[in-house]
């Protein structure tokens, strides 16, 4: 009996041009969709809107219509549909034919940008990202001036802000109303707080740390916690100054060339560091290193192989601690009832979900409570919460309601973006639970050892 194995051709690496350069290359990926609709069971956007264009099956039908000429990329409704997706990859976990839906989404966004260019605001922001020095200066100016638009939101031991009245009024539709609670933009970013090389006596391993923008500008303390933990486990840490944004947002908005440039810069920075591993504390940055760079640079004879090399040497902090350095179990007590939210990029892209839980469960004093749907998206989706506030807020509300039922006082997660969203929504619909990167609890446990003595 003849057996055609279209699988190998469907998922085989593209030589030369990629999906992101030629939309026609995505056709085989589209063809594998059976329209079974299993994606409906897990899609957060569809869960709120219950409109077929919201879910992967519908978006694939639209992509098919674009390829056949039935729909035009110039149709503003096509544009809106394309960006009404968090690219959370939940559908991909539930897809019987394992369609790479993220590629379809990003390829068609890239086609849109190729055809019509970038929206001016995106062009401006992405242009800044490509110039790390300018971006860094801009973020610091922003931090210094943030008091004009934001007031302090007083919570014990936490630096939070809320939009001031006039700004809240005009930005309410973006979710930046007066109830919004956000982390403070730091005046001294993480990378200005640490040396380029953090040495330890008798180091066992040398590794680079790639903090990404969120840790660098919003959560420098998380970065410091990671450094502390790595030092505790005799890891010499390199934080190359020339690294820049991972490019996930640029890429997600279809600006392929900027994403490629950022990828090459980051690879250069790491190549020069002379390390064996890269550690990340953010699933989105990790996903870029593990998957997107090698896809983006597949046709690049110089950087393609390097991207491939680093894709195997990128480690999320918990996996690095458990599998590579066999970390020392902490002894300091952290009395807390804790739940863990699976960041989409961490679980669905990097397949990291057991390790953070293991880290948490090994902290003395921690009572771990699982929520009913820990890997349901939080609704942040990078810029999604700004562009689709109503839907994102409904998704966030469901998440917090699930978290409320655990009774946990601390919500942890492995993604700074999720931290930001969960923080806001725990104040809106929750019990103002504390929200922390899970790794900070490990750092706290190590610190408490010293106090316990």
């Amino acid at each position: 009996m003849p057996t055609k194995t279209t699988t190998t051709t469907t998922h085989a690496p593209q030589k030369g041009k990629t999906f992101y350069d030629d939309l026609n290359l995505i056709r085989k990926e589209l063809d594998t969709c059976m329209k079974c609709g299993n994606c409906m069971a897990v899609c957060p956007v569809y869960g709120v809107t219950t409109v077929e264009a919201g879910v992967a099956r519908g978006k694939i039908a639209i992509a098919e219509a674009v390829l056949s000429g039935e729909l035009s990329l110039d149709d503003p409704h096509v544009y809106e549909m394309l960006f009404n997706c968090l690219v959370c990859k939940s559908c991909m976990q539930n897809c019987p034919t394992k369609i790479n839906f993220d590629r379809i989404m990003l390829a068609i966004r890239a086609a849109l940008v190729r055809k019509n260019g970038l929206f001016w605001l995106k062009k401006m922001i992405f242009g800044m990202l490509k110039n790390p020095k300018l971006f860094d200066a801009g973020m610091k100016v922003g931090a210094a001036l943030s008091g004009i638009a934001f007031r302090d939101y007083k919570v014990k031991n936490e630096k939070l802000v809320s939009p001031r009245a006039p700004f809240a009024f005009v930005s309410g539709r973006l979710g930046l109303d007066a109830d919004k609670v956000m982390p403070e933009l730091t005046i001294t970013p993480f990378r200005d707080r640490v040396a380029e090389v953090v040495t330890v006596e008798h180091h066992r391993i040398k590794a680079a740390f790639f903090p990404g923008c969120s840790i660098n500008y919003f959560y420098p303390d998380t970065g410091m916690d990671i450094i502390e933990i790595l030092k505790e486990n005799s890891v010499e840490i390199h934080i190359p100054k020339d690294q820049n944004c991972c490019g996930v947002a640029v890429f997600a908005h279809g600006d392929v060339e900027s994403a490629r440039m950022l990828a090459r810069n980051n690879i250069d920075a790491m190549e020069q560091a002379g390390v064996e591993y890269i550690i990340i504390g953010c699933g989105s940055c990790g996903g870029c290193w593990q998957h997107d760079y090698k896809e983006l640079l597949r046709g690049d004879a110089v950087y393609g192989p390097m991207a491939e090399y680093w894709s195997k040497r990128i480690f999320e902090i918990s996996v690095f601690l458990l599998d590579v350095v066999k970390y020392r179990k902490p002894r300091g007590k952290v009395d807390a009832v804790v739940t863990y939210h699976d960041s989409c990029h961490l679980k669905k892209t990097m397949k990291v979900f057991n390790e953070p839980r293991e880290i948490l469960k090994n902290i003395p004093g921690v009572t771990f409570k699982e929520m009913s749907k820990p890997d349901a998206c939080c609704g942040m989706g990078g810029t999604y919460i700004l562009t689709h506030y109503e839907t994102g807020a409904e998704i966030g509300k469901k998440k917090i309601q699930d978290i409320n039922s655990t009774g946990a006082g601390i919500i942890t997660t492995g993604c700074p973006g999720c931290v930001m969203q969960l923080l806001d929504f725990s104040h809106r619909y929750g019990n103002a639970q504390k929200v922390r990167h899970y790794i900070s609890l490990l750092a706290e446990s190590y610190r408490n050892e010293k106090e316990d003595i």
């Binding site: 055609k4 194995t5 329209k35 609709g37 409906m40 219950t50 077929e52 034919t97 394992k98």
Partner: protein, 464 residues
């Protein structure tokens, strides 16, 4: 295209935000989960929230003679939701409330857009279940599955959707609302309307409320897998289990093609030289009874030279089930066109049907993997093809014709659980004859004389 005034009127009825008119939106209502079907883009999609809104939509459609296409989640496998003549898709996704769970009467009242799994989640706290479990249980709606009379993996012991509908509210094609049945176990008042509308595939009226029957969840279960060197041995095991007076909740079969493909795809440790595989699960409320049933099954398996694997923990059960769950995804990797049929034969003809499917695959040189519900004779010959290869698709169509003819020759039926829709309409006369077709036409025209509701499904359109 629809008259502008009609569109405005529809917006008035359901509210502007519940009407989809943009091309990008309506294109996504042009299909369901059925492969190899014509695609027709509807003019407009409306999403009513109340029965009253449904009535108004139907009244408007009557006045302007507009085709209405009811739709739940669009997961059916017979083309039941495809809008053949453009017209208006009526999506029930926004009528998704569980109105009442009544454990005392073992009943639940739901709106049609409730997802089956959501109902099960809601009744679990009372130790109850709603047994029909089509493969789409996490996405399909109650309204859709009632209209299609969906089956599932537990049909042999627990029956199918029609056994769990106690009452309904239906909006007829003349705009009238009728309610019948209810929470009583016994009810012989009037005609048995439930059985008229269950499985009517949305051609006779709009189901706007369902009173569903619930049962206590079985407390104990035992799961086993058996592999066989010959299809006959597997078929004899199925007969032997029933002869031993055991009715398993699940009695699934897979042919060699499916076993090989699953193993290649999921690496679950199946013997790829096995001719057939059975997945058997017995369940019940008393542990001793379940264990006795499991022992009886094991004896039958051994007598028929089956290689037995019994799960002793939930993890092991999950492993055995993973093979069955992988059947469709694994087969689907073999082609971009996945045609899943549900030709069904009397249980005693399972062996003959499995072998016939394999022979048909060879005869027409098409890839067919067959798996399905051996206990109730409901097989899923699944054909994998390249939709862009015309010659291959022609051979596929011939193979499908022959599969149905074979099932009928064994005293079987065209459809065990997927329905007729548009996919199997041309074969309908082969099973029920001209008089049967005439009867269907009479019923359709008595309830929907102008062919407003889901025209072209099950019964040919007027004049067609």
């Amino acid at each position: 295209m629809l008259d502008k005034a009609v569109v405005e009127k529809l917006k008035e009825i359901v509210g502007k935000k519940n009407v989809l008119t943009q091309k990008v939106d309506v294109i996504t209502y042009s299909y369901d989960a059925t492969a190899d079907m014509p695609r027709q883009v509807p003019d407009i999609v409306v999403m009513p929230s109340t029965t009253e809104e449904v009535r108004k939509i139907v009244n408007l459609a009557c006045i302007h003679n507009i085709a209405l296409y009811p739709r739940g989640a669009g997961t059916n496998l017979s083309g039941g939701c495809i809008p053949l003549k453009q017209g208006v898709v009526v999506s029930f996704q926004h009528m998704n409330k569980i109105l009442e769970v009544d454990p005392e009467n073992l009943a639940a009242v739901v709106q049609p857009g409730v997802v089956i799994q959501d109902l099960n989640n809601a009744v679990a706290q009372y130790g109850l279940i709603y047994p029909p479990d089509p493969g789409t249980v996490t996405t399909a709606t109650m309204g859709g599955s009632v209209a299609e009379n969906s089956g599932g993996l537990r049909g042999l012991k627990y029956g199918v959707t029609k056994h769990y509908v106690m009452g309904m509210e239906v909006v007829l094609a003349n705009g009238n609302k009728v309610r019948f049945g209810g929470k009583t176990v016994k009810n012989v008042t009037a005609y048995d309307f439930s059985n008229l509308f269950v499985g009517s595939e949305g051609t006779l009226g709009f189901i706007t409320e369902i009173t569903a029957k619930l049962i206590p969840a079985p407390k104990y279960r035992r799961t086993m897998m058996a592999t066989y060197k010959t299809v006959e041995d597997a078929g004899n095991t199925v007969a032997g289990i029933i002869a031993a007076q055991v009715i398993p909740a699940t009695l699934e079969i897979m042919d060699n093609m499916t076993i090989k493909t699953v193993e290649d795809y999921a690496k679950v440790g199946l013997p790829t030289d096995a001719a057939a595989l059975l997945l058997i699960e017995v369940d019940g409320m008393a542990e001793l009874v379940v264990l006795q049933e499991a022992e009886a099954v094991q004896k039958v398996v051994k007598n028929n030279r089956g290689d037995l694997n019994v799960a002793t923990s939930d993890a092991e059960r999950d492993k055995l089930w993973s093979a069955r769950r992988a059947a469709l995804p694994a087969l689907a990797q073999l082609g971009n066109c996945v045609i899943i049929e549900d030709a069904t034969v009397p249980r005693s003809k399972i062996t003959n049907m499995l072998m016939a499917c394999a022979n048909i695959g060879e005869k027409y040189n098409v890839t067919i993997g067959t798996f399905g519900h051996a206990g109730d004779g409901n097989l899923h010959p699944t054909i994998l093809a390249d939709k862009n290869n015309k010659d291959e698709m022609d051979r596929v169509h011939k193979a499908v014709d022959e599969i149905f003819a074979t099932a009928l020759s064994f005293g079987g039926t065209l459809s065990g659980e997927h329905g007729i829709g548009i996919a199997k309409m041309k074969y309908l006369g082969d099973e029920i004859g001209q008089n049967g077709l005439d009867l269907m036409k009479s019923i359709k025209e008595a309830l929907d004389p102008n062919y407003i509701i889901n025209p072209g499904k099950m019964v040919p359109s007027k004049g067609a």
